[in-house]
Amino acid sequence: MAILEVEDLKVYFPIKAGILNRTVDHVKAVDGVSFSIEQGKTYGLVGESGSGKTTTGRAVIGLESIYSGKVSFNGTDITNFGRENSALRKDVQMIFQDPYSSLNPRKRVLDIISEPLRNFEKLSKTEEKKRVQELLEIVGLSPESILKYPHEFSGGQRQRIGIARAIALKPKLIIADEPVSALDVSVQAQVLNFMQDIQKELNLTYLFISHDLGIVKHMCDDIAIMYKGRYVEQGTITDIFNNPQHIYTKRLVSAIPDINPRNREKQYRIRQEVQREYANSFNDYFDSEGLAYGLQPVSDTHLVALPERG
């Protein structure tokens, strides 16, 4: 059974206007997204800025209120679950994008990491300290650093503190929102390796949100490409990278810089071609509002947003 199931998720933000501040319209940040993730897998959500990928992640964990649709975790409906459902909150955790703003600068590492523990587990001071030290060791930081403040750490170390906080309650699902985009390549490698290690150790499931297709390819089993709040394509890594069907996916894949300088001319030509195709056939792939169509299956695993054929 899938650990996380999302059905027709919609997150709309109201646009208010007039002196009565009435809602005149909605921004459809997420407009009908469905997916499911099996336990222990990594599901990648890819898109450009403004595509709604972060909003989807935040809605799943309950940081955005859901307009309509259903989110179930382990078979339980957790749509718009409130504080009273705190037992479920334990099992779903989040790693935030920016390691500089997601840690309270006035709190010590001990307090940052033990906050989830204090909320859910009744531990004595010494037990708590021991647990935090264990967690720090898991993420490769020295246990002595519990009394330090966030500013005393580098970006990569801060991100690992964020991860330690996320895994403190042994969650089943982690939503990682661009976990490495603020980091240098070498530090990026460190965090990604580490995320893979703890995934194996704790049998974690990831919802991995990123705009970097190279990293998504490295980390994920299945991915979905989002555009303006809707899916344009969903499939396994092989489906998407070797057999992209939607023009938007093709454009995205062709835009990744190739690490081999010998392919430069070829890449440039492909990009120009795809760009032309994108300009010419935009109307075949998007509806009159410039949004993606509903998904049609291409194979068992591969779905593409195409207009229904008459």
């Binding site: 390549v185 990026q188 390796n193 990744i256 810089p257 190739d258």
Partner: protein, 336 residues
């Protein structure tokens, strides 16, 4: 060689911390030729942006030593008035963050026109406006007349970055310095902006210094690449050599830490980039990050060695370097 556009000799840029100066760019020498893209790669804190700012003379409080020859003129030791004549005209810069590089209270058209007013005062108002519209079209922004009247906040990130490029190329510079021009952009926009820079370079026959931390961008764009670590160039070579036969341990580690086809585990560089004050000023600066390599492998005062024509590597440790998960015998490559 008349092809040479920029020649930097032993540049040292130091910042004052407390009452001491610390070099962020330490003894850097390089050249840029006409119609050439020189890529400068390095992580944050490697001094690549400090180098760019030194060339442009934008450091007001730093101590800049050494020579920067732009077409036989030493712009590191030049009167500010003379430098102002060159900046924005012969030498231009594309800044990293388009949101902070543009004035939020000024119309797009006026911002582009500013550099024309400064460097081409003989232009009439009509000519100037035509040129600005032409520039907006050149960077492929549709409805140029409309955008002319807009303010930066009305444009998307990609459009803003293109405006920054339009300002930089307004006077057809011979040397273009692009400091992480696409870091803030989405991949598809990045591809467009990079293609644009390349086409402009071909049209104007100018030299480009492209500063980035993204190895993919370098592989796509550069003709030659300099890798910087802790203020120094550790390896410099043409782009094919660098990607096919990287020698310096830092270059190799960096290439190994990027996700690639069929790679199971990413390489992690141990430790962190030392801060300016704690940076060892003697010996190989990368030694602390590769502790498994024997100390005797490093030089006392590492210098750039020309291992093959045009391919320079700092320190001798490259010939003894191996990744910890490789066996020691695997290090045959290197001195060959």
């Amino acid at each position: 060689m008349s092809n040479k556009l920029l020649e930097i000799n032993n540049l040292r840029t130091s910042f004052r911390i407390g009452d001491k100066y610390y070099a962020a760019v330490d003894d850097v020498s390089l050249t840029v030729n006409k119609n050439e893209v020189l890529g400068i790669v390095g992580e944050s804190g490697s001094g690549k942006s400090a180098l760019a700012f030194s060339i442009m003379g934008l450091h007001t409080k730093a101590r800049v030593e050494g020579n920067i020859f732009y077409k036989d003129q030493d712009i590191a030791n030049i009167a500010p008035a003379k430098l102002n004549k060159l900046r924005g005209d012969d030498i231009a810069m594309i800044f990293q963050d388009p949101l902070t590089a543009l004035n939020p209270l000024m119309k797009i058209g006026d911002q582009i026109a500013e550099t024309l007013i400064l460097h081409k005062p003989e232009m009439s108002q009509k000519q100037r406006k035509d040129r600005v519209i032409e520039l907006i079209n050149l960077v492929r922004i549709p409805r140029a007349e409309y955008v002319y009247e807009q303010f930066p906040h009305e444009l998307s990130g990609g459009m803003r970055q293109r405006i920054v490029i339009a300002i930089a190329i307004a006077n057809q510079p011979d040397l273009l310095i692009a400091d992480e021009p696409t870091t803030a952009l989405d991949v598809t926009i990045q591809a467009q902006v990079l293609d644009l820079i390349r086409e402009l370079k071909d049209d104007l026959n100018s030299g480009v210094i492209l500063i980035t931390h993204d190895l993919g961008v370098v592989a796509e764009m550069a003709d030659r690449v300099a890798v910087m670590y802790a203020g120094q160039i550790v390896e410099i070579a043409d782009v094919h050599t660098l990607f096919e036969n990287p020698l310096h341990p830092y270059t190799r580690s960096l290439l190994n830490s990027v996700p690639a086809e069929g790679q199971d585990k990413l390489h992690v560089i141990q430790g962190v980039v030392p801060s300016l004050q704690k940076l060892p000023r003697n010996g190989c600066r990368f030694a602390a990050r590769i502790p498994w390599v024997d100390e005797s492998a490093h030089e006392e005062n590492p210098e750039l060695h020309e291992v093959e024509p045009g391919h320079f590597v700092r320190c001798t440790c490259y010939s003894h370097f191996y990744f910890p998960d490789e066996s020691k015998e695997a290090q045959v490559h290197g001195n060959s």
